[in-house]
Point group: C3
């Protein structure tokens, strides 16, 4: 099954580079630059538009939409609702990143509202995914969130992820040392990546943005999420080899994404 | 004529480094950091102030003003209007970057309002300049905008740029493989730069900010725009030689701007 | 006395890396990314939350709070007031960075209001500290602010800093070629750092964030401020040796922070 999920990776990577799909991002203030640069390096065309006047207009014509709840405000929350609803109506595939949901009450409420617009994929860390599932009544609430970082292993959230995916009829990704991707039935594990990625801000947000890029060219959301997480993890490993610390890692990561070839990714992928 | 336009480049570069002119930026969330760093590397003193309480106050005392319509909001639009009006009254030279105008209705309206405060320079890609000229009734509307990226060659917007410059009594720059600068009568073409610059976010916005820095020391807006675009393109070419991809390009670009000497720029400039 | 102030540096650096204290940042749009990455590289866990719905909630549970007045808005100012009050009530240590206070009327008023919530540390350049002291009636007003950059030497603000620290019963840091840290009685001078740091945006803001990280593990605010400024200056010097300009400096600075060992810092510290 994992092999099936990445069978189209080579073609999808080529499609992103050929078509430069327009990816509409409503994301947090910390990661706008690295997110835009990662999407550009991969071959996509990012647009950051997060006001209430324009977000629905763009979400309707974009090839995919990325909503990230970091540095949310009431204005941005309103823009997110409009964009998510427009995406659902226009069948623009979209992915949600519930940054720090569970740790802060306001954004937990906003996240719950956004789930009603049926994101194709939700990607978070273990704390965030467990909080989302718990507030949907699917699992018992668990402690463990600390701001944007999770104190839990991704394994701990696997049942919550499956329950959330099934309830949403979508795909859920739990990031961690092993990333899990599930549609409620199937589960893929991706054991790529490197611990230094937790010492660079916005790596999770970038993973979410890359899922957006793959959703733009791959109709199967499970496959899109698996492929994006594999690219993320393998690119991270390749960048670590070129880097002397988190600063040079970030630079190398963009260079690697830009030059990435499908055979190298498939060779290094550790899927289960 | 191109030679005339860059005759003062050496002196202007020195003036920026000697005087560190205060450049007031109201720019988009994606590029604040790279814009500030590019201005600092060149020798200017950037200040990012974008609220309604302070923007007019700063625009009056700044040496130049840069307004960039990316990630606009109603609050930022109000701050832009106040800053643009204050700049016009105080004779602070200013440059406008109409990011994604034509693709999104709200910002197209804001851009039209801002044109009333007579920016000394407008810099955009072909789609953006054609949209501005079309909504001023100067040319026929054309399709071709896709979010922030243009699908058109810069040549296609040259007539629109000349008409807009003449109508505004200002200078218009169309960025592309060849950058065109026109005051409605004269046209300079700058064939510097490198395709990888389209894979790094904020290169256009940085060009606009550099125009702001040159406007701070050069009274002739046509010369200021030509010189900034030459510096941008040549610095880009020099950075490419040091870079292994878009991540290391961005790093090298700042190092190059910091160390740039006028003779090297003039030697590499491809002006027509 | 300076030796006393850095006696706990080694243990504090270890404590930051072991405990990853949650640092709540309300900071400016230009430096969110570099600030978060510097805190992560040092070993802390940054969270950027700046809305009125969540800022008090997070300030109560965070280990330290950093408030930076750059790119302030009325919404952010309201979030700052709520966070500062919550921090004072919950005894969360906090540090304030009065970016461009004195140069712009609105933020000068906001800074004065925030001082009522008793920041443990205030860090600014000479112009900013003199403006804060002057508007508190402690010293005569002085000219010299130019946007975010100071035209004054840090020495010029030393008396203002001492008066402000005494009046606030807190610690004040004046950044410059020599950084001064004072609690109103004691004064430490730190002669580390490099001029290229003034050509990279957000170095002052990063210093303030590092003070936040040290406040999270060190009860003595004077010692926390001295240690953060020493780390900042020494890391800057080490990064310069690896860098070819301001772009590569920024990259090297994060790599250095990540790998920094206490003995190397103590060896290079120039304290008086």
């Amino acid at each position: 099954m994992p092999d099936t999920a990445i069978a189209t990776l080579s073609g999808n990577l080529e499609a992103i580079r050929d078509r430069s799909p327009l990816i509409h991002n409503i994301t947090n203030l910390v990661v706008t630059n690295i997110t835009a640069n990662a999407l550009l390096a991969l071959g996509a065309s990012p647009a950051m538009v997060e006001n209430t006047e324009e977000s629905a207009e763009l979400a309707r014509v974009a090839t995919a939409l990325v909503i990230n709840l970091g540095t949310i405000s009431s204005e941005k929350a309103a823009a997110m609702r409009l964009a998510a609803q427009a995406a659902q109506q226009a069948k623009t595939p979209w992915v949600m990143d519930p940054v720090a949901v569970g740790a802060l009450a306001y954004r937990s409420r906003v996240a719950r509202e956004l789930l009603a617009s049926k994101p194709d994929v939700v990607r978070g860390n273990a704390s965030e995914i467990m909080a989302l599932a718990a507030q949907a009544g699917l699992v018992q609430p668990a402690a463990g969130g600390k701001g944007v970082d999770s104190l839990l292993q991704s394994e701990a959230a696997l049942e919550a992820a499956k329950a959330l995916a099934a309830a949403q009829n979508g795909v859920v990704v739990v990031s961690g040392a092993v990333d899990y991707v599930t549609d409620g039935t199937r589960v893929a594990g991706i054991a790529n990546g490197h611990p230094i990625m937790t010492r660079v801000t916005g790596m999770g947000c970038t993973a979410t943005a890359l899922i957006g890029a793959f959703l733009a060219v791959e109709k199967n959301a499970f496959a899109a999420a698996v492929q994006a997480m594999v690219v993320m993890g393998v690119a991270g490993e390749m960048a670590v080899e070129m880097a002397g610390g988190p600063g040079s890692f970030q630079v190398a990561f963009l260079d690697v994404l830009y030059a990435l070839e499908a055979p190298a990714i498939l060779e290094k992928a550790r899927l289960s």
